[in-house]
Amino acid sequence: MAMNTDQLSPELFQPAEREQGAEEAVSRKRLSYWQDVRRRFVSNKGAMIGLLLIVIIGVMSLVGPLMNDFTYSDQNTDMMNISPFEKIEGDYWLGTDHLGRDLWTRIWYGAGISLLIAIIAASLDLVVGVTYGAISGYMGGKVDDWMQRLVEVLVGVPQLVVIILLLIWLEPGIFAIALALALTGWVNMSRIVRAQMLKLKSQEYVLAARTLGANTRRMLTKHMIPNVMGPVIITLMFTIPNAIFFEAFLGFIGLGLRPPQASLGVLLNDGYQMLQLYPYQCLLPATVLSLLMFSFNLLGDGLRDALDPKLRQ
């Protein structure tokens, strides 16, 4: 199909209209870092499942205790240590504990308290731990030296002594636990962030940014913090069970919540004493706790991938 060359005319060859700098423009909708994070996070199935589970457990911790006629403290001495598989009258969906209290209600009530402790611990980690570690690692030199020595002193002084003293001034309860956590709960986080900072500080893109005149604030927020997010989130995932177990440990030595209040940690503690006799009293709260941890981890993995600037597409 040869074309007739006669039909070609110079008019057909018009210069294209060219806008200055148009080829530089990004065709896809421009996303800020955080918009991209959200997009990537939402498209991560695991993370969404994790989030959903946490929301479900969170909602259940509020609604669960109201779903039957028992409160977390109601006792029935004729209905002690009833296993969930035993057919009995009454609505003990998950059986009862050693004082004839409804386990369903107590587990969800306990999950609520444990979540609260998890939130307190996580916020402390993020606010105090990350800031402290970031400043220490970024500043380096003398500042780093002194800040790290301070941490060593904090970790070296036995926590239990401090906690017992705290209890003399404060009434036992959630506030005292939070304060005890605040003392040293964030130390691991700060050390992880510091280590990452030390590593990042000498990397090429950071040097480049510094050479281009970025100020400290910009350096930290734009370059360093997003790049330490991976380890930060992993650490957070370990802080949460640690905090929950720490609270359980306080209960173990008798310094935790005011009974009959309970957390998952307290339930586990009570339950494990009777592992050989009534295994469900230990395994049920352990299951809820593991589920909670698992969802936190899924969520954490998703967050990590979403926050990592190098995985940005």
Binding site: K142, G156, P158, L160, I168, P231, I234, L275, A286, L289
Partner: protein
């Protein structure tokens, strides 16, 4: 480097002194006295015994005395255990706790490293998910539940290993295993995360392009860089495991340090509290120092000796 080490050594002494001082004064504010039979002791007799112990002297005097002894390496005698030397008590407990700790950590680190590497290299596959589930279980099942389950099922039901006591190597297996789960979980998670990050970096591509084999790339470049957070977290964890964990020791009836510490605080055994605190802090401070030096060895770009100098 020499100057750096010397400086850190001086700091270490200062840190230990601060810990000793703070602990000393806090401890003396604990309720009650170090006497054991306090519940029944007639008040007059109590006063006399406290005087015999020198506990009636003003706190600063007691402090100076204690510090003087500490410098000569004398940790004093226990109040609860009838004048037994605190140094001996620590050494007794430490040998058991350390055996357990070393085994748990070695096993945990090896398994954790392998799990973490494999998970990162096979990202998104069932291996990755399996490793994740395992490490999540490792942190979310408290070690005391795990310990109790192991002791009961492996020790009593199956009778494969002794359920408790401390008589020989086979007795250390179950408690070490129970403790190692936490180590496995943490190491695996950190290594996986860091590996993923490192594997995407340019120098890995360069190394591959240079024709380096896959194992060499992973070990020489990727793993090495992935170790920073793992090592950071290992220092305090190691010290914690070496100096004993209360619940595992109780479940397996192990004569370790974990119980000694909690017990000394609950019974106001002042010299024992101070002894264990100083011992623990010493290990901690040294381990942190080692970690700081390791940073530089693992990643030569990290210089702690004053970034601004």
């Amino acid at each position: 480097m020499g100057r750096f080490v010397l400086k850190r050594l001086i700091y270490m002494v200062i840190t230990l002194w601060l810990i000793a001082t703070i602990t000393f004064f806090l401890m003396h504010n604990l309720p009650g006295s170090p006497l054991q039979n306090e519940e029944k002791l007639p008040p007059e007799l109590k006063e006399i015994i406290l005087k015999e112990y020198g506990l009636d002297k003003p706190l600063p005097v007691q402090y100076v005395n204690y510090l003087g002894n500490l410098i000569t390496g004398d940790l004093g005698n226990s109040y609860k255990y009838d004048g037994r030397k605190v140094t001996d008590m620590i050494m007794d407990g430490f040998s058991a706790s350390a055996t357990l700790g070393v085994q748990a950590i070695s096993f945990g680190v090896v398994v954790g490293l392998i799990l973490g590497c494999v998970a990162a290299l096979r990202r998104g596959t069932w291996i990755d998910s399996g490793a994740t589930v395992l490490s999540v279980l490792g942190v979310s099942i408290p070690s005391f539940v795990l310990g109790a389950l192991l002791s009961y099922y492996v020790g009593v039901e199956l009778q494969w290993l002794p359920p408790a006591l401390w008589e020989g190597w086979e007795y250390t297996i179950l408690p070490s295993l129970a403790l190692s789960f936490l180590v496995i979980a943490q190491i695996a998670r950190y290594v996986r995360t860091e590996m993923l990050e490192v594997l995407g970096q340019d120098y890995i591509k360069t190394a591959k392009a240079k024709g380096l084999g896959r194992p060499a790339v992973i070990i020489r470049h990727a793993l090495r860089n992935a170790l920073i957070p793992a090592i950071t977290i290992m220092a305090p964890l190691t010290v914690a495991l070496l100096t004993g964990t209360l619940v595992i020791e109780q479940i397996f009836a192990i004569p370790g340090m974990g119980y000694m510490f909690v017990d000394s605080i609950q019974t106001n055994d002042f010299t024992a509290i101070m002894g264990v605190t100083m011992f623990y802090s010493f290990l901690l401070v040294v381990s942190i120092f080692i970690v700081d030096i390791l940073y530089g060895i693992i990643d030569p770009r990290i210089r702690l000796t004053g970034a601004k100098e």
